[in-house]
Chain length 239, copies 2
DNA sequence: AGCTTATTTTGGTCTATACCAGTAATCCCA
DNA sequence: TGGGATTACTGGTATAGACCAAAATAAGCT
């Protein structure tokens, strides 16, 4: 009830937001359909959608392909400096994590990867694609590349758990340094499909390079997150 | 020319993206108007807009209020562990930074700030609001709170430069630890207005708490960034 | 009960039109 | 020439209708 409630879609937005805040609509619950939301006030579906897009950008609601709109659960906290692995830190926050391995194959080192891994072009690398979920909602997909000469036979193992712990326990490889790049992005084609969201939805791209104590690149990882699924928290000492 | 070019708006998206990639449209340049983009193919304005929203989410184009659509410049790189201040690191990347102080006042410590600063409720604090630009495009607005007892008279100084260096050179206060929280968000009402973007545009919220060597909170800072203006890069040693 | 097949519902895309509020360009006068 | 008022143009909001593909549900058949 502020000033610019001349805008219909903001009025609708506020109505829905209030129903979420008040607890009438709970996390994970389904919203009434767009056509049902039109009922009382003579408002076009396009306007309803505008309001829903707004709420989606704010992280209050999300949509599943053609199924409907749902109230978003709270985000998980991600601290790149305390990398205990997805499974453990999601669990520590009282949520239920899950991992699916979409594919695992051997690839050969190309020019870009050669740069990253300091390995000759043509050298064998493992390429793993996984989808990770929280409480049954897919929140990120990742592409991992691992130097095959450091972890021979890696893809024979079950990778639906923590990759870090497999590298540690089976191959004795520990991560000593982490380089993390993050940037807001749009989830397009492949990523959007794997996350079952509409192409063009904003997301967060996280690129991580893991080094061992000798400075060798152990793992190169590119993750695409739903924008509403995480909160990044970094605690660092300034040099 | 892949598979799902049945979608008109993706076709339009690709056309425009190609014109940007090919250099026909350069960074900072203005796109033809939505109505001009309709001309050849019998395509509705709504479809053109859908394509533009897609490109906006991808960070390829941005819009200025009712002026038009423009090609986005490349993002700046932001490393929270090497905090030299906005002015210097933007300049180091060959861009032209600018700061405007929107307001600076004395406020009293409320419950939330009391928690953060470990100061009694009612204690004086400085509240500074600034807008920062890169190459004349506003990219972030920030709200800074500083403990007035640590830096008496701070707001008498010119704050259009680096606050960190004022704290250091005038008050001898150095930052020893930085706690940074980041999360994708929507730019709403106040922030959107200050950044001159449409409310609801995705952005990145950065919350920083700076501690001195004694562990006292020196500065509490909340920034709202345009989603397409930055790339975060962290390089850390794992404990 | 379980399984398959229709049917309905849902969001996703698209067209066409209209009016409004800021911006940018133009015009015109001093 | 300079500056202020006017006009044209831009994106922003809104309506109403239509069709489609995927998802969810209901119906029907073992």
């Amino acid at each position: 009830m502020q000033q610019p409630d001349h805008l219909h879609y903001l009025g609708v937005r506020n109505d829905i937001a209030d129903r979420i805040d008040s607890g009438e609509l709970k996390a994970g619950e389904r919203l009434p359909s767009e056509r049902q939301l039109q009922v009382g006030g003579g408002v076009a579906r396009g306007t309803i959608r505008e309001a829903l897009f707004q709420l989606e950008a704010e992280g209050l609601v999300y949509r599943r392909n053609r199924s409907g709109w749902y109230v978003s659960p709270p985000p998980v906290v991600y601290d790149p400096t305390r990398w205990e692995g997805f499974m453990s830190y999601v669990e520590a926050q009282g949520r239920r994590p899950a991992t699916e391995t979409l594919s695992k194959t051997v690839i050969t080192c190309d020019a870009m990867l050669s740069q990253i891994f300091s390995r000759p072009i043509g050298a064998p690398l493992y390429w793993i694609r996984r989808r990770r979920s929280i409480d049954d909602r897919a929140v990120l997909i990742e592409s991992i590349v691992v130097d095959a000469s450091l972890a021979p036979g890696l893809i024979e193992h079950d990778l639906d758990g923590s990759l870090t712990s497999v590298l540690k326990s089976v191959y004795g490889i520990g991560v000593a340094r982490n380089k993390v790049d993050m940037r807001p992005c749009a989830l397009t084609r492949g990523e959007a499909e794997a996350l079952r969201v509409k192409s063009g939805l904003p997301g967060l791209s996280v690129e991580r390079t893991c080094y061992d104590a000798q400075g060798r690149v152990v793992e190169f990882d590119r993750e695409y997150w739903r924008h509403d699924a995480l909160k990044i928290s970094v605690d660092i000492r300034v040099r």
